[in-house]
Subunit: 469 residues, 2 copies
Amino acid sequence: MSSKIKLITSTYLALLISATSLFASAQQLSTEQQAQMNSLKETALQSDLSYQLIESLTTEVGHRLMGSEGDKKSIVWAINKMKTLGFDKVWSEDVTGSYWLRGEAKARIVAPYPHDLVVLALGGSIATKKEGLTADVAHFETFADLKAAPDNSLNGKIAFVSYQMDRDIDGEGYGPAVGTRVSGAVVAAQKGASALVMRSVGTDNNRTAHTGVMRYKDQVKKIPAAALSNPDADLLVNQLKRGKAVSLYLHMTAKTDAEVVATSANVIGEFTGSEFPEEIVSLGAHLDSWDVGTGALDDGLGIGMVMAAAHHIGQLPERPKRTIRVILFAAEEVGLLGAKEYVKVHKNNMNSHVIGAEWDFGIGRIYKMTPGVGAQSLNAIRELAQYLAPLGVALSPENNAKGQSDMSALSDAGMPSIDFAPDGSNYFDYHHTENDTLDKVDPAALKVNTAIYTMYAYFAAQAMVDFRK
Amino acid sequence: MSSKIKLITSTYLALLISATSLFASAQQLSTEQQAQMNSLKETALQSDLSYQLIESLTTEVGHRLMGSEGDKKSIVWAINKMKTLGFDKVWSEDVTGSYWLRGEAKARIVAPYPHDLVVLALGGSIATKKEGLTADVAHFETFADLKAAPDNSLNGKIAFVSYQMDRDIDGEGYGPAVGTRVSGAVVAAQKGASALVMRSVGTDNNRTAHTGVMRYKDQVKKIPAAALSNPDADLLVNQLKRGKAVSLYLHMTAKTDAEVVATSANVIGEFTGSEFPEEIVSLGAHLDSWDVGTGALDDGLGIGMVMAAAHHIGQLPERPKRTIRVILFAAEEVGLLGAKEYVKVHKNNMNSHVIGAEWDFGIGRIYKMTPGVGAQSLNAIRELAQYLAPLGVALSPENNAKGQSDMSALSDAGMPSIDFAPDGSNYFDYHHTENDTLDKVDPAALKVNTAIYTMYAYFAAQAMVDFRK
């Protein structure tokens, strides 16, 4: 190749790169800031702080259902940790709700072939009567089939929905399965059923059932609702296949303490911006968990990541321009109570929440980021994506993120957001089960994900971009 | 290539094949018999009979611990199934022992950070006193460390051994781990401990603990013994790491009904040999199981395989020369009681048990066979290996098989044996846990393994070889 051709080729390539480049305008970060972000990345990739936080939370607090002892302890834990980690301001904001007590749940096939089954009450379910209930099982393969059952056709029966959720990288199997959990008891009661039993909303094959929130409806009789582990649901299906009546005994002592208003709290900590302290870049996770595992994944992972990310930025010689705020939401699992309260309390300055991201899904490494921002800021998002690309993060062509979990409430209130997505194929093996424990955390993925959240927060706090739609 | 050279080459190749052939003498099976075995192989590979048997056993009977209702039902089940499957003779032989009742087990870290732990009583353990016991934990990383503890150093303490078993293709991690389970309570008691708690002997990360047999010793105080799930053992270790005293509450209601002699039975069925009915080729599995899963793997797999294998052979137009006997042993889990009884009852004709194989390990496809036979019969074993090679079975160079599980007792009594080995890497994820259920059975591997057992039995029943050492 002649040097002339080389030159032309180089020029052409440069043009090509420029043309396809993500930077149509000047870069947001100065060379110095880029170096600082790179150094933050290295710090986060080396640090096991996020893991240590999860280890501490799960070992010293354990599970933390809204209103429980663990919930109260976790608030103290979070405040103390944030102070230890050097946050400029740390405070809590009360969140009230009711406290649901799981109690015990037992299920047993009485006939034709007796078997004890592994079962968990769905969150919010009432108890059975004291002596339990025994009834024949009416089997539905899908929630649609249950909905199609004629009125009164389930009188005196236990409705059983055996639908198996699909495994999917984005967790998309959850949606079609979770309807039965949330609304199945109402529909079954409307048909006359005395209880709802369902296959767990999960992809695992362990004899650990999945819990999660369910709802009752005014005017519709409340009936007990519970989930069987996948192997136990298989067994029940296999007995039903034989064409004989299958009789099930169900005993649950769950109760909602409607008399007592339980108080929990959003725990908030921030590193105050050096130039625009009123402009808030937020990092979210939820502090509560279900009461069966230790909430290491849901949402210990998020807690560890966002606290560590903010801490790393707080170790810089000076604060970034905007404030970085970590919000550990209360009572996500029982209906985003903390997020809703946050929006209520901060309604007059939601406008100053310049952007937010939560972590509440998945164990694996982040592979995708999806913004939900004003079009004028997409170039800045592309710049961030370039910094994150070496960590394996692809920028989604969509611009429709609505915020994960709690952040969806802030997003609804006008806050721009970014959703980071990992391979979630195995998440529903553990989600809302006794198996949500520390050993499932992947320390290597956690380091990378923490680095990504650190870089996102630093970028958003330094780039003087208006992300609003 | 000229036709002359071709001819020479062909001859040379033929000689070469002959020279390296495994057949130094005449083949055992005639061409017709080889065709018959090939047809049996195809039948077994197409059939889902072994799976259907496991499905039936686990769905209609469930678990079947020595002396339990399930144990009794399984005997009736096995006799009926064998009759339905056309066995020429079906009978049972009583086996007596004691009935151990699991009752309930609860464990809870009381301090410094309260947590409920998932725990199972070890098989044979006594109960705690009625109100349970609470004591500080003395932590040992290995059984050797516990053994090295000074006398009286554990007075008033709960000994905890946190050793984690290794994952291994041949299950070799089991040996180093299981010592604590079998003898840990005796050693801990000798040091003054009030209970033994150990990490489950398993490779999984589920909150399902592993049970299995433990032993007491005359003159040594009996103390309760239990296993924690792996994630719970991790949690306990993490609390201990903090250097504070860790107090554990343990409550167990297990008991042995020493008053009652429980009766179980070996269930035996055979297809009678057409020429040498007194010569027995045996296929073994054990009918009992632990009481926490449904015993689909341990040993439903073996039951399905050996019953189906014999049935397939029984469908041939005529019986093979030797008798094919399926022995479903009682009470393997609690100490090979059925196998020992079998040897006692049949001591005068152990000599006519020409060879035996059991299946009591692993879920995956068989990849290796190891004989334990007289040297004079190794050529016949090599011939069998040639028939099995297309199914992925390699012949081990060793000739030291001693029979799996129950068959080890028959092997000790002089019966030659073959051990078939699968990839057992994942077996201890499920072994002796609540997760030993039907969904863990791999139907494709099961078909291949059943074909292998069918071919082994047919070969041994037709090949007029003396396998004795």
